[in-house]
């Protein structure tokens, strides 16, 4: 028994050591880009699947979008250190303000309408950022705006395949209703 415990402790220690190492590397990396981050400094591929249930996660080709976007601020606002595009944001963040995390979920909540989130919003309604969208909308609004303007894919399944649960939810695919007589639904 004690041998097993030792092994477990050793594994825990290893895990902690690994985490410390990763943290140290991350710290070093965070300081590497001097000034605003430039295109090309981001990851090549990001899997966006933290909310996936009705649809599979999205394999987001970050590198390709870096080339298309004007700059990091197009999607990341001021968090990468460059000046935000919106004049309204520049009031406070004109110099850019590098954030500790640049991932969407660092700022955009997965559940923007939970009782807790709404209570916080109610308390801070006279401050800024009261109209910050949730994580799902942050993804979709950022993607769809450009995709509609630049002719990118805009269909739901153009970016993420629907799961079986999704088919059931939408009464589509294998769950599609039998063809109904013409005349519409329930009128």
């Amino acid at each position: 028994m004690s041998g097993m415990r030792t092994t477990k402790e050793e594994i825990d220690m290893l895990a902690i050591r690994n985490r410390l190492l990763v943290a140290a590397v991350a710290l070093v990396l965070a300081w590497l880009p001097v000034g605003p981050a430039r295109a090309g400094a981001g990851p090549d591929l990001v899997i966006l699947d933290s909310m996936a249930s009705l649809y599979q996660g999205v394999s987001f080709d970050h590198a390709a979008h870096e080339a298309l976007a004007e700059g990091c601020a197009t999607c990341h606002h001021h968090t990468t250190g460059s000046a935000p595009l919106s004049a309204a944001c520049q009031g406070c963040h004109a110099a850019g303000q590098q954030a500790s995390t640049v991932a969407c979920q660092g700022c955009h909540q997965a559940e923007p309408f939970s009782a807790e989130a709404l209570r916080t919003k109610d308390l801070n309604i006279h401050l800024y950022h009261t109209d910050k969208v949730g994580l799902k909308a942050a993804y979709h609004l950022a993607c769809m705006g450009c995709h509609q303007q630049l002719g990118g894919p805009v269909g739901c399944q153009d970016c993420h395949a629907r799961t079986d649960a999704g088919d059931a939810f939408y009464h589509a695919g294998a769950y599609a209703p039998p063809p109904a007589p013409a005349g519409g639904s329930g009128e």
Binding site: S114, D122, T130, D131, K136, H140, H171, G173, G186
Partner: protein
């Protein structure tokens, strides 16, 4: 017992008449308008964000356990459906509490999608029209109803300025009114957003305290005056609604009734209703008085303190 003199009678009639004429003015002070519960919740529908994916329809169907749809919820062909000779787009009915319709405003490149559902008025006309009190405006802002007391008179369908309550014509034994209830039973009263809001990928639906939503809506218009029409539909319409809309195109181009009054519907009849008890109380006395006076002229010296029953009728 006091005898009715001519002088006393005239004074009483004048006072009564004055009470009737003054009643509406007094009512305006006393009744006022209900501005909605201060902590009431609402939803801000930003039509500039809606992409017509119909996920809200699917979520509503699942949450409210409605019958399976005739077409899949990802089928955009439903946007082409029209009824009544092409004059009517899809409407809410007993098995669809919310419906998204597509509009193509003149001079616009992209179509506009508009979700309709119960707007959950601050002072609902359906509620005030219901004589069995089936409807309730909850303090959370939802307009719910008790199908068990509904007698199927369908007054609410006529009263609703948005044509939302639908009748379950298909149910022979237990027909009743059906409509969006803001997911009150399963979500709202537990502090959760309605199912349609939660599923919306674009956050075209923003859930929150109504007073905060108004602030957010004004802020959006102020930040993007080029993107929005300077109007929050539902802020004042029929006394204000819990669900409100922002749009890039004029509201009358996308099916909204922009001729609605600012006052709650009930205010149209409050004045009249206030005079009903007045009439019931004063007219019998007034006309009895006339009658008594007329009788008195006829028979001098008779005692009229105890008139006969038939003579007392108005």
């Amino acid at each position: 017992m006091m005898k009715i003199t001519r002088r006393r009678f005239l004074a009483a009639s004048l006072a009564g008449g004055a009470a009737v004429t003054l009643a509406p003015a007094r009512k305006a002070l006393a009744a006022g308008s209900f501005e909605g519960y201060p902590e009431g919740m609402g939803v801000l529908v930003d039509l500039t964000r809606c992409i017509g994916c119909r996920s809200c329809e699917a979520a509503c169907n699942k949450e409210q356990q409605l019958p399976a749809p005739a077409e899949p919820f990802d089928d955009p062909s439903v946007f082409d459906q029209t009824f009544h000779g092409g004059t009517q787009k899809r409407r809410t009915d007993e098995s669809h509490y919310t419906v998204v319709n597509r509009y193509q405003p003149e001079g616009e490149q992209a179509p506009v999608y508009r979700k309709i559902q119960c707007n959950h008025c601050n002072e609902p006309a359906c509620l005030t029209s219901c004589f069995v009190n089936a409807y309730t405006k909850t303090r959370e802002g939802a307009v719910i109803y008790n199908p068990d007391v509904c007698v199927g008179c369908r007054n609410c369908m006529v009263a609703c300025p948005f044509n939302i309550p639908a009748y379950a014509y298909s149910s022979v034994l237990n027909p009743r009114i059906r409509k969006c209830i803001f997911c009150y039973d399963t979500r709202l009263k537990n502090g959760k957003p309605p199912a349609c809001v939660e599923i919306c990928p674009q956050e075209a639906l923003t859930f929150g305290h109504r007073k905060n939503l108004l602030k957010i809506a004004r802020e959006r218009i102020k930040l993007h005056p080029d993107r929005y029409v300077d109007h929050i539909y539902g802020e004042t319409e029929v006394g204000g609604t819990a669900w409100m809309y922002l749009s890039a195109v004029p509201f009358d181009q996308i099916g909204f009734n922009t001729a609605l009054q600012k006052e709650p519907i009930i205010n149209n009849v409050k004045d009249f209703l206030a005079t009903v008890p007045m009439v019931l109380a004063i007219w019998p006395a007034l006309f009895s008085g006339f009658h008594l006076l007329a009788k008195r002229k006829g028979g001098h010296g008779e005692d009229h303190a105890q008139p006969q029953q038939e003579e007392n009728k108005p």
